[in-house]
């Protein structure tokens, strides 16, 4: 298994280089280093000398992909792409265009993102599975079809409406929680309750449907019929056998998501004024700060690939049939 993990990690490198190439290409299709220098120096005091000096100081004076003047191997290494983008592999995010240290920004903003994303995810998972089990217990009845219709309706509403409606109802009319903002420690609880509730509710429709179909697929298998034939009650069949065996597909969906929780929710955070990574990214998009966008794209891809590897590894723990060979 160790060899397998190593191989997967090595396989991630070309993918991450590809991700970097794409972001890099998109980045410099929009900006030239001259534009960036002008934006940072301000329009008033730009002279060709100043721009050149800024570019040299920030390392933007090099060619993009291929350095003709450099000797030998440096033709490839002494370029903007190698110098700027490949630094990301050392998790050296550098500075944003506004001059702040991106890695310290990320560390600082990770906590607010997690304080929303983690509870939303956990509560959502438990509610979804519980509701799905309840519906599976009453499968084929009126309750089943009614809840499934409601689930489709919940799915069909844009997340933006949930946020706006929630803010209007609970903050503006009922005054239960503040509309937006953030505080650290227990003080912050009142700020995160509403985003968490909205997040859980918005995911309810698709979640319940997904787990329901998962359990239904499991319930039609032979071993369940055997268990029932042995005289086990429906509830113990459901909880002892179906849930246990449904764990593996649940795991697939869950483990991939866990690492990406760090990224936070773009929309949720910017609506509720929470200084997490999601709003960090959205602000960077709006101010066209590509230093940050580049770093966040890289981080997102790393977490995604990490999640995929994690899923495969967790398989071996939960299903003895799965063997990973290097």
């Amino acid at each position: 298994m160790f060899a397998y993990i190593i191989r997967r990690l090595l396989y991630a490198i070309p993918i991450l280089i590809g991700v970097n190439l794409i972001t890099f290409a998109l980045f410099f299709m929009v900006n030239t280093p001259d534009d960036m220098a002008r934006a940072q120096l301000g329009a008033k005091q730009t002279s060709p000398e100043l721009i050149q000096a800024w570019k040299v100081a920030h390392g933007y004076d090099k060619p993009l992909f291929f350095n003709e003047k450099a000797p030998g191997f440096e033709k490839v290494t002494n370029t903007l792409f190698t110098q700027e983008s490949l630094k990301l592999f050392m998790f050296d995010f550098g500075q944003s265009d506004a001059g702040r240290q991106i890695s310290s920004d990320i560390l600082q903003r990770m906590v607010p993102s997690l304080s929303i994303a983690l509870p939303t995810f956990m509560i959502g998972l438990i509610t979804n599975i519980a509701l799905a089990l309840l519906i599976v217990l009453f499968r084929g009845s009126v309750l089943d079809s009614v809840t499934m219709t409601i689930a489709v309706a919940i799915m069909s509403i844009s997340g933006l409406f949930y946020i706006i409606a929630g803010q209007v109802l609970f903050s503006k009319l009922l005054h239960w929680v503040p509309i937006s903002g953030y505080a650290t420690g227990w003080e912050g609880a009142k700020f995160v309750v509403l985003p968490i509730l909205i997040g859980v509710f918005a995911g309810l429709g698709s979640g319940v449907r997904w787990y329901r179909s998962l359990f239904l697929e499991e319930i039609n298998k032979d071993y369940v019929r055997t268990a029932r034939a042995k005289g086990l009650s429906e509830i113990s069949v459901l909880f002892k056998h179906v849930v246990q065996n449904g764990l593996l597909p649940i795991l697939t969906g869950v483990v991939v998501v866990i690492p990406t929780l760090f990224m936070g929710s773009l929309i949720m955070e910017s609506f509720f004024g929470i200084p997490g990574l999601g709003s960090y990214t959205i602000d960077a998009i709006n101010s066209q700060d590509f230093g940050i966008v580049k770093a966040m794209v890289f981080l997102g891809s790393v977490l995604y690939i990490f999640g995929l590897i994690l899923t495969d590894i967790s398989y071996t723990f939960f299903d003895p049939r799965v063997r990973l060979n290097g």
């Binding site: 993918i15 590809g18 069909s156 706006i164």
Partner: protein, 456 residues
């Protein structure tokens, strides 16, 4: 510009051409489908469900409105702004702009304005709206509108009933009674009831919009009903055209990877894994920024703001297409791998049937259900994505009518005291109906077409 007659000429934007092209190819495709008994029977089964029938009628209505909004008509003699066919139908709403907010069916403005009173002192008053007929009776007009709606739908149902009667070689009365007692295979009764309801509601909105702002007006006094109807085109186009971009890429790459294996497979797999591992909103945002710079650097590409907005929509569709083909491609690759191992395909290859023929005869027909399911599933998520992207500021042009832009503006309106709720409400209702219909329809398509699905 294509001149028609009497100084009327029509014009198509790029997205207009695409949507009409798609419409006609759908027509041709349905003809082709009609030839295969098996496929025809499958589609028949899709429509056997009441819910699917209702959803389909609603979807067709939205699509029709989007199509009506996709022909630009220019009237040379009327000296008006060129607008779409829908604009021509709703001319009374285009010209009926007020000064500011007004609530649905309101007779006066939403906020007080300062006005010189009769005795020379300043007063705070609610100014009456310019384009509202205060003498009109809502009830009388409603009755007229409903009557008109009933007549129109009776004509439509009669025509369709006649067609069915011809097809089944019975009389119109016999056919209609069979439909009413649900003796037909397809749920035509449900279809007729839905149609009647839709037509009545539409004629009610239309007739009352002459005397009132049925859904109120927005910040700069534009009729909200008009805005919402114009937004339909944006939503439908993004949902439909993205498929058009995404489908060829996914089909070609997916089938190639599955069929040729080896290094081709490796390259294609690498391509979609890489694209997949980039958070899609970021990729879209970056691409949209590139596009903005490109549009700003080439002002000669378009003559008007409408054209610029249209070009931006086209780009957005392209970008969404490029980012969303990966999922379907992976599914198609796996399915092709499976099918190409099957005995009949191996036998065909052994008999010397060419690769192209194997693809067109064996592989394409057998992956079609996957394509269809993912296309109808994607539609609703794309409509929802438009709203989110417009909110982030990387969606459609801010001057273009779209539900995303309406919701975006609603954020500010909600903070007003008292609240301006009607723009958000209208956008919500129109978007919800479309997405709900699409979701319900895709559910049905999934249950009928997916051979493995045993949940129902």
């Amino acid at each position: 510009m294509i001149p028609l007659f009497n100084g009327i000429s029509i014009y198509f934007f790029w997205t207009d051409i695409m949507i009409w092209g798609l419409f006609f190819s759908l027509l041709v495709w349905s003809r082709v489908i009609g030839r295969s008994e098996q496929v025809k029977a499958q589609w028949h089964r899709v429509f056997e469900s009441n819910v699917a029938m209702i959803a389909a009628i609603i979807l067709v209505t939205y699509f029709a409105i989007a199509l009506m909004d996709s022909v630009q008509i220019h009237l040379a003699h009327a000296n008006t702004q060129p607008g779409s066919f829908l604009d021509v139908l709703l001319t009374h709403l285009v010209s009926a702009t007020e000064r500011t907010y007004s609530a649905p069916f309101a007779l006066s403005e939403f906020t007080k304005s300062t006005q010189m009173g009769l005795n020379g002192e300043m007063q705070q008053v609610y100014l009456p709206l310019k384009h509202v007929d205060a003498t009109a009776s809502i009830w009388m007009q409603s009755i007229e509108a409903i009557a008109l709606g009933l007549v129109i739908s009776a004509v439509l149902i009669g025509l369709h009933g006649l067609y069915l009667a011809r097809l089944n070689q019975t009389s119109l009365i016999g056919m209609l009674s069979a439909i009413w007692f649900e003796q037909t295979k397809l749920p035509w009764r449900t279809a007729y009831i839905t149609l009647t309801l839709l037509v009545v509601v539409m004629s009610w909105l239309f007739i009352l919009s002459y005397s009132f702002h049925v859904l109120g007006t927005d910040q700069v006094g534009i009729d909200v009903l008009y805005e919402t109807l114009k937004s339909i085109r944006t939503g439908v186009l993004i949902g439909v055209l993205t498929t058009l971009v995404m489908l060829p890429i996914a089909l070609t790459l997916g089938i190639t990877a599955g069929l040729f294996k080896g290094w081709v497979d490796d390259v294609i797999q690498y391509l979609y894994t890489t694209l997949n591992s980039i958070p899609s909103v970021l990729l879209i945002a970056a691409a949209v920024l590139v596009m903005q710079v490109m549009i700003n650097n080439h002002p000669d590409w378009m003559q008007s703001t409408a054209e610029r907005a249209d070009l931006r929509l086209l780009f957005l569709v392209g970008i969404l297409g490029v980012t969303s083909w990966t999922g379907l491609c992976r599914l198609l690759r796996a399915e092709t791998l499976k099918i190409s191992q099957m005995e009949y395909v191996v036998a065909a290859r052994a008999f010397g049937v060419s690769r192209a023929k194997v693809i067109s005869r064996h592989i394409l027909p057998n992956v079609m259900h996957i394509v269809l399911i993912s296309v109808v599933l994607d539609f609703s998520s794309l409509v929802l994505a438009e709203a989110v992207l417009s909110y982030v500021g990387v969606g459609v042009d801010p001057t273009m009518n779209s539900w995303g832009n309406m919701i975006n503006q609603a954020r500010l309106e909600m903070a007003r005291e008292p609240m301006v709720w009607w723009s958000l409400f209208s956008a919500f209702v129109f978007m919800f109906i479309l997405v709900l219909a699409a979701n319900l329809f895709s559910d049905r398509v999934q249950t009928v077409l997916n051979p493995r699905d045993n949940t129902k």
